[in-house]
């Protein structure tokens, strides 16, 4: 399942005094099993973009092709799109609504017309991927769970529809540091074990540095950079100019180079940066 976006432009309130270009001629391809990080300052167009991938927004101009299907073709029913692209919004726990966890997670697969047996399998599998014990949690009310558990249940509800593409908008916000790491590891499992293509929208440079295969950088509605982390973090001045930053480890390497160390500044993860500094000292 791949995504091809061509010349996508989205203008809010076109023809009024409030007219604003949110996306400006954006084109890119995403491969079937990619893990893509999407970064950009507030208002850069990230959220507008992801809402186009499952037709929550319709382009002002341009096309969005998901696995060879033009998703804005009126003949394609919404159900076919929902089947392909799952979206997890910010604070998804606010969208829980059922009496029990089981009912909540099974809502999606049932709507897609799956029978009880298949639905049961999907609910079980999704909860387990999110690190929740099926037997313990299935009959609980979503509202008696902790914040972190609620969020996992909400995401399980999207996984249960088995979308080959999943979009997650700031899934780690509000979680404690270890909760953040657990969530990112679960997302990595969805990508590596279930083969789900991931689009992760985040403000955290560290998260995309550690987890994404490729990073899209948005600024003022334009896709200004798209490549592997090594390439995107290579130019810290460029990122600073568009209100972003680089991981601290990367910044330490750059400062050392300025101080005259003969050091390779291309590492962007903590471990690789440590290895490079130790190498310089012959350790």
């Amino acid at each position: 399942m791949s995504i091809e976006v061509r010349n996508l432009t989205h203008i809010y309130s076109q023809g009024t005094v409030f007219e604003r270009i949110a996306l400006d001629n954006v084109s890119f391809d995403v491969g079937p099993r990619d893990f893509i990080g999407i970064i950009g300052h507030t208002g850069s167009g990230k959220s507008t973009l992801v809402q186009h991938i499952n037709r929550l927004l319709v382009p002002t101009s341009g096309t969005v092709i998901v696995n060879h299907i033009d998703i804005n073709d009126k003949k394609v029913p919404m159900k076919e799109i929902v089947r392909r692209v799952g979206i997890v919004f910010q604070y998804p726990e606010s969208q829980l609504f059922e009496e029990t966890v089981y009912k909540d997670v099974s809502f999606g697969p049932k709507n897609l017309g799956y029978d009880d047996e298949k639905t049961d399998f999907l609910v079980r599998q999704s909860l387990e991927i999110m690190g929740l014990n099926f037997e313990e949690i299935k009959d609980k009310s979503p509202f008696e769970l902790s914040g972190g558990q609620k969020r996992r249940v909400a995401i399980a509800g999207v996984i249960a529809m088995k979308p080959p593409i999943m979009i997650l908008d700031e899934p780690t916000s509000g979680l404690d540091p270890v909760g953040r790491e657990e969530m990112l590891n679960m997302i990595r499992d969805m990508n590596q074990e279930l083969g789900i293509c991931i689009l992760l929208v985040t403000h955290s440079m560290d998260d995309v540095a550690q987890y994404a295969d490729k990073i899209m950088v948005f600024s003022e509605g334009k896709l200004v950079k798209y490549g592997p982390p090594s390439e995107v973090f290579a130019d810290s001045q460029f990122l600073a100019n568009i209100r972003l930053d680089v991981p601290q480890s990367k910044s330490v390497l750059e400062r050392l180079k300025e101080k005259g160390f003969d050091i390779d500044t291309s590492s962007y993860t903590t471990k690789d940066a440590a290895r490079e500094i130790l190498r310089v000292f012959g350790k």
Partner: protein, 278 residues
């Protein structure tokens, strides 16, 4: 001279939840001095936000006493004076704005204090300048970025001239630049004498705090300077917390045989420490 501004004495708090109440805070005693910059960290559900709400009488303790600027929060006569002394800035600026024009939003608080119009004008201007948003005074809040909106909510709080401001995850929804701006303003206010209490999940943001209080399961489990707190990566991990990336990098270098002092917290310090080894 006693310059304590916040004092919690053996405070417990329980949320009603069906038949069995949930204890969110369990026998907590904390004392914060005027002018301090105190960070509060802890895993989800550790009681941080409950603690914050107790500091300006949004919640009242089930047991124990909370004193704000010497006033007992459980006395309803004190509530207004307490909220004037100790203000709060929350996570989502959109939930905290009340007016359709920036300067009107900032004026909302001072107007409610019943100040004379020219005094309100002065306070609004001063506050907007303090957060570097004066030139946006005639704009509509919805046209601003998240970071700019958060600065406006802070201006609204400053305009009340509080002695103490509690920031409850106020940087969580902002992009890196918005987060840096907000942090800078918090330190500037603190330099001018305002007591700052900052609740956050981002360890990088609190390396300059005077003191860090670590919460776990409704109790204070640790208290100390950033250097003391971040010296124990393993212990923090057990509490579902972490260390700033610079500290993690320093730890790896030390394990690899470089003599990096414990308590190296900022990029500058780490770079200097490495340069000294050259």
């Amino acid at each position: 001279m006693d310059n304590t501004i916040i004092k919690l004495e053996n405070v417990s708090f329980s949320y009603e939840s069906g038949d069995n109440p949930v204890k969110a805070l369990d026998d907590v005693s904390i004392s914060i001095n005027e002018g301090e910059f105190v960070a509060i960290v802890g895993k989800n559900g550790s009681g941080k936000s409950t603690l914050a709400k107790l500091l300006n009488a949004l919640l009242l303790p089930s047991e124990g006493v909370v004193l704000v600027d010497g006033m007992d929060t459980s006395d309803p006569e004190n509530t207004i004076a307490i909220r004037k002394a100790c203000a709060m800035v929350f996570q989502n600026p959109d939930n905290q704005m009340v007016a359709t024009i920036v300067e009107e939003d900032v004026a909302f608080g001072p107007e409610n204090l019943g100040l004379a119009p020219h005094k309100i004008r002065t306070r609004v201007d001063e506050s907007l300048k303090a957060v570097m948003m004066y030139e946006f005074k005639d704009q509509k809040p919805h046209q601003l970025s998240g970071g700019q909106k958060q600065r406006i909510t802070i201006a609204g709080v400053i305009a009340m001239h509080p002695k103490c401001i509690v920031f409850d995850e106020s940087t969580a929804m902002l992009d890196p630049a918005g987060r840096a701006d907000t942090l800078k303003i918090m330190h500037k206010l603190n330099d001018e004498g305002v007591t700052v209490i900052f609740i956050t999940h981002y360890m990088e943001e609190i390396t300059d705090a005077d003191r860090i209080i670590v919460m776990g399961d409704g109790k204070v489990v640790k208290e100390g300077t950033p250097k003391e707190i971040f010296a124990d990566s393993e212990g923090l991990k057990k509490l579902r917390l972490g260390v700033p990336e610079v500290v993690a990098l320093g730890d790896l270098l030390r394990e690899g045989g470089l003599d990096i002092p414990e308590g190296t917290l900022s990029e500058e310090e780490l770079v200097e420490a490495i340069c000294r080894l050259k």
